[in-house]
């Protein structure tokens, strides 16, 4: 029995890892990149209190933070075809995770923007810079440094949440594992195994996070 388990573990490892590298990671990476663009733009619009746009953004955030991502996936993948909109599984997952993550990250970035002292913007004006110049060169870099740990957490959560995409037939790591289980009837071993691979990914990201924090934080580190 023991040696059978070991063999199965070793045999299935690459079979699970490969969709991890070709599906799970790209899904998380692409979604997160789009989410960051959404987050920064919507946070800046809210920070600037642009009328109407701010209300639209509040509405968007309200919807996406207030409903489960699984429901969002089902609406986009199984629901929208009823309205004549057919989207392939992978792009459907990208759309949902981008919008969902964008809504959460928007709030993180907005709070970080608001934590930058008002004097930084005033100083920018006084050396002749425009609002957008000061935003890009002074305010946003400081805000992103503040937001970095929270955003890293969000990324790690997103990597794990991509397993939900199995429900809309994206053959990522978790779905692949389910298929192997159906064939081998070894749920305990295989689900632990896929959990282990998620853990590896998360651990790697945690290391990247502390490396990134160090690199970004040069101007914030207190002297010894």
């Amino acid at each position: 029995m023991g040696s059978n388990w070991l063999t199965l573990f070793l045999e299935s490892f690459p079979k699970i890892l490969i969709p991890g590298l070709t599906r799970t990671i790209p899904l998380a990476a692409v979604s997160f990149a789009i989410a960051m663009v959404i987050a920064v733009l919507t946070a800046m619009a809210q920070y600037a209190k642009i009328p109407v746009l701010t209300q639209i953004i509040r509405f968007y955030i309200w919807i996406f933070r207030g409903t489960p991502p699984l429901v969002q996936l089902f609406v986009v993948f199984y629901g929208l075809p009823r309205a004549g909109i057919l989207i392939d599984p992978f792009p459907a997952a990208v759309i949902v995770f981008s919008l969902n993550e964008g809504a959460y990250s928007s709030e993180i970035v907005r709070a970080a923007l608001e934590s930058v002292p008002v004097g930084q913007m005033e100083a920018g004006y006084c050396v002749g810079m425009t609002y957008m110049q000061t935003m890009r060169r002074i305010i946003l870099p400081q805000a992103m440094r503040t937001a970095f740990p929270s955003l890293s957490n969000s990324l790690i959560a997103l990597v794990k949440n991509t397993s939900l995409a199995a429900n809309i037939t994206v053959t990522e790591m978790f779905m692949t594992t389910q298929r192997i289980v159906a064939r081998t009837y070894e749920p305990l071993l295989l689900y632990l195994e896929v959990g282990l691979i998620y853990l590896m990914f998360s651990t790697l990201l945690t290391f990247l996070q502390s490396w990134g924090e160090k690199k970004l934080g040069a101007y914030m580190e207190k002297e010894a």
Partner: protein, 248 residues
């Protein structure tokens, strides 16, 4: 006159902070605004650089007339490129080194090349005695050093006037001296400055002109020597007496 403001008014909610201020600063002059806390000195200075929008007022600067209550963005920017502002709380860019703080405006706002901006920036840092601190971030500098970098940042743009908003109020007494001595040497070089301060001795020995404010109004203004030797208003005399005693 380089700068002449007329009838500057500003109120916050129902509180009239500035009740129609007239003020002028000539080229090469170091003018000082004195007055008790709550007189409206800082608000006036912020209105003069459009960090606050005045409710009324007209500003003539270097031959051009600006309406203070409805300035276009373009006019504000054009004006700010000719002026500089030193804050009470320094407001150095926290994500930039000392040199980058000085060059940021030159490069980003004025489109000057990096090499030339750094050369100008280093000269400005030398001027305030901090050339050796070019690569320090603000948090690595003392308050006095931060304020000197802020002065270098102001100088680098070669402004026609520098506004100082209580530049030493956030500093320990022993750090005040280094900032005041930099400002003194700027005055000696004929830099035009408008300074809000509580440093009576500095005002007496360095400035050419004093504007004494109270309750949002100019009580008295004139040449420093006149104001200090024979103030016309009782209120001015009383203020100078009390403040001088405090600092001795």
């Amino acid at each position: 006159m380089l700068l002449e403001a007329r009838n500057v008014k500003k109120s916050f909610k129902n509180l009239d902070v500035l009740k129609g201020i007239d003020l002028s600063v000539d080229t090469g002059e170091a003018a000082v605004i004195l007055g008790p806390s709550g007189a409206g000195k800082t608000t006036l200075l912020r209105c003069l650089n459009f960090l606050e929008t005045s409710d009324a007022g007209e500003l003539s600067f270097d031959g051009k007339i600006y309406p203070m209550d409805h300035m276009s963005r373009k006019n504000i920017r054009e004006y700010r490129l000719q002026t500089a502002f030193v804050f009470q709380s320094f407001n150095l860019f926290l994500n930039k080194t000392a040199l980058q703080n000085v060059t940021e405006g030159l490069i980003t706002a004025r489109g000057i090349g990096k090499a030339q901006a750094e050369e100008t920036g280093m000269r400005a840092l030398e001027r305030v005695g901090l050339a050796s601190h070019r690569d320090y971030y603000p948090h690595q500098l003392s308050g006095g050093q931060q304020q000197r970098v802020a002065i270098a940042r102001a100088l680098a743009a070669e402004p026609k006037i520098i506004f100082f908003d209580e530049p030493t109020s956030a500093l320990d007494p022993e750090l005040t001296t280094e900032v005041l001595s930099v400002m003194r040497s700027l005055a000696d070089d004929g830099m035009t400055m408008l300074i809000v301060t509580h440093e009576i001795e500095f005002a007496r020995t360095v400035s050419n002109r004093v504007i004494f404010m109270e309750n949002g109004e100019v009580v008295e203004s004139g040449l420093t020597s006149d104001i200090f030797s024979h103030p016309q208003k009782e209120r001015t005399a009383a203020f100078l007496k009390v403040e001088s005693k405090k600092q001795n």
